[in-house]
Symmetry: C2
Subunit: 229 residues, 2 copies
DNA sequence: AAATATTTTTAGACTTGTCTAAAAATGTAT
DNA sequence: ATACATTTTTAGACAAGTCTAAAAATATTT
C-alpha cells in the first residue's frame, strides 16, 4: 500500500491492531505492557513487537523504553479507542441488521474496523440508533472517545435470592458464546439465584420466572449481570 | 499481512484490484490488455504491473505472454466479478441504508469490497432485498457470477418525441454525478426529448411531465436511459 | 530497410511487516 | 555473588508490493 492518500492522518491496519491490543492489555493490568504480552495478544513474535513498538514510538503513539515495556500516549489511546468504537459498531450492525449470531460477529468486525471513513462510522452509528452496547454487552465508545463504564457484576457475585439481568460476558470465546446461546442465556434475560451448592458451587438459577437451570462455576464467573435492586 | 488464515483460497487486496481493473478493461476493449493500460487504470507504474501480472499468471488467474498483454482466465474473471459484486452491493448499502449520495459511495466501497466473508455478502444481499442494480445503475452480479446485461441506451440516442427513464451513467466521476444530482437528473426520472438544436446539439428535455431543461451534448452522451415503448 | 519512437521488461533498490537465531539485559535461585 | 532462566533486543533474511533508470522488444516513420 502506502499509496492510498487520505485527507487526514492515517494508520495502517497493523498499527491499529497493535494499538488496540496494547490498549486492552493496559485496561487489564494498569502497568507498563511488556513485549511478550503484546506478542501473545497479537499472535506474533517478540522480535516483531520490538520492531513495531519502535515505529509507533517514533510516531508518538506510545512511550517506549528498552526493556521497560510500553505505554500508550494520549494520541495512541485515542486511536485505539476509535478502533474499538468501529469494531463494536460493526459487530452491532452484523448482529442487529444482518442477523449474525453473537459468536460470528467478531472475526468479520476485525476486518471492518479498519475501513477508513469518519463519515461512514457516523452514519452507521446513526443507522443503528446510536447503540450504547455491542452484542456482547461491551460499551461502545462515543465519537468523543468517552466510554460509558458498565457497573455490571459477575453472576457469581450474586447471593441466593438476588436477581439480575444478563448484560455481558467476560469470556468472549466462540465456544462459550455458543454454549450460552444454546442454553438461552442471552443478553437481557432475567435470572434469579435460587441455590448455590456448598459442595460443587453449582448455581441453580431461575430464568425469566420460568424454568430452572444449573450453571457451572466456569459459567457464572464469565457472565456479567446488572443487579436488580 | 500474509498472516490471516481463511478457510478458503484468498486473494490479497492488491490482487483483487488488479483483477478488477483488468476485467473492466477487457469488457471495454475485447483485445488482450496491455501493461500500460493496466498501469493507468490502477494508478501505478508499468514496471509494477509487469511484476504483478507474472504473479497472477503463476496463480492461474490470467494468461500472460511477454510483450503480448494479458487475458483473464476463467478463475481470474470469476474473482474479478465477485469483487465487482461486493463493490456494488456495498455501494447500494451505503446509498440505500446510510443515505450517502451516489457520488460518495464509490471510494468507501473500494475499501469494503475487500472484506473477506462469503456469508457477509450473502446476508448483505438479502438485507438489501437482492438488488439488481447499484446506485449508478450498474448491474449487480449474482452469487453465481452471472451479470444481467442492461439494454439501456444513451440519452443522446433518443430522437425528438421519444422518452426514457434515467437508468445509469457512463461517466462515473464525482463531478458529473454531483452535476446530475443538482439538476435532479437522478435514476428513475422520466424524460421526454422535446427538441435537439441543429446548431449546438443542446437537447431540450421535459422532466417528469414538469419543467424543461437544456442538456449539453456532454451530459446526454453520459446518461443511460431505458427507452419507453 | 533504417532510423526513430513507444512500450515493455529487467535490474536493483526501498518500505512495511514478518521471521529465526544469536546476543544482551534482566530476574531468580542457590 | 554466582549460576541459571527468562525476557528482550539485535542482526540478518524474507515476502509483497512499489519505484526509478536502463535495456530490450515492438511499432511507426521516413
Ligand atoms: Mn469483538
Ligand atoms: Mn464485542
Ligand atoms: Mn463504484
Ligand atoms: Mn457503482
Amino acid at each position: 500500500m502506502s499509496k492510498n492518500v487520505y485527507f487526514c492522518l492515517m494508520y495502517s491496519f497493523t498499527e491499529e491492531n497493535y494499538l488496540k491490543a496494547i490498549y486492552k492489555l493496559q485496561e487489564q493490568s494498569d502497568m507498563a505492557i511488556n513485549t511478550n504480552a503484546i506478542a501473545t495478544a497479537i499472535q506474533t513474535k517478540a522480535a516483531s513487537v520490538t520492531d513495531m513498538v519502535k515505529k509507533l514510538s517514533e510516531k508518538k503513539l506510545l512511550k517506549y523504553e528498552k526493556y521497560k515495556g510500553v505505554e500508550l500516549t494520549h494520541l495512541g489511546k485515542r486511536i485505539a479507542i476509535e478502533t474499538v468504537r468501529k469494531h463494536r459498531l460493526w459487530e452491532t450492525f452484523l448482529h442487529n441488521k444482518l442477523n449474525f449470531s453473537w459468536d460470528e460477529v467478531h472475526d468479520i468486525a476485525e476486518q471492518l474496523e479498519h475501513i477508513q471513513s469518519q463519515e461512514l462510522i457516523d452514519k452507521l452509528d446513526e443507522f443503528l440508533g446510536f447503540p450504547s452496547h455491542d452484542p456482547h454487552g461491551d460499551p461502545i465508545p462515543g465519537r468523543n472517545g468517552v466510554i460509558q463504564q458498565n457497573n455490571f457484576i459477575l453472576l457469581s457475585e450474586l447471593s441466593v435470592g438476588e436477581s439480575g439481568i444478563i448484560s455481558g460476558v467476560v469470556n468472549h470465546s466462540n465456544l462459550f458464546l455458543q454454549h450460552l446461546e444454546k442454553n438461552q442465556l442471552v443478553l437481557g434475560k432475567k435470572l434469579l439465584v435460587q441455590e448455590i451448592s456448598a459442595f460443587d458451587q453449582l448455581v441453580k438459577v431461575q430464568i425469566e420466572d420460568k424454568h430452572l437451570q444449573q450453571l457451572s462455576n466456569e459459567v457464572v464467573r464469565n457472565i456479567l449481570v446488572k443487579k436488580l435492586s
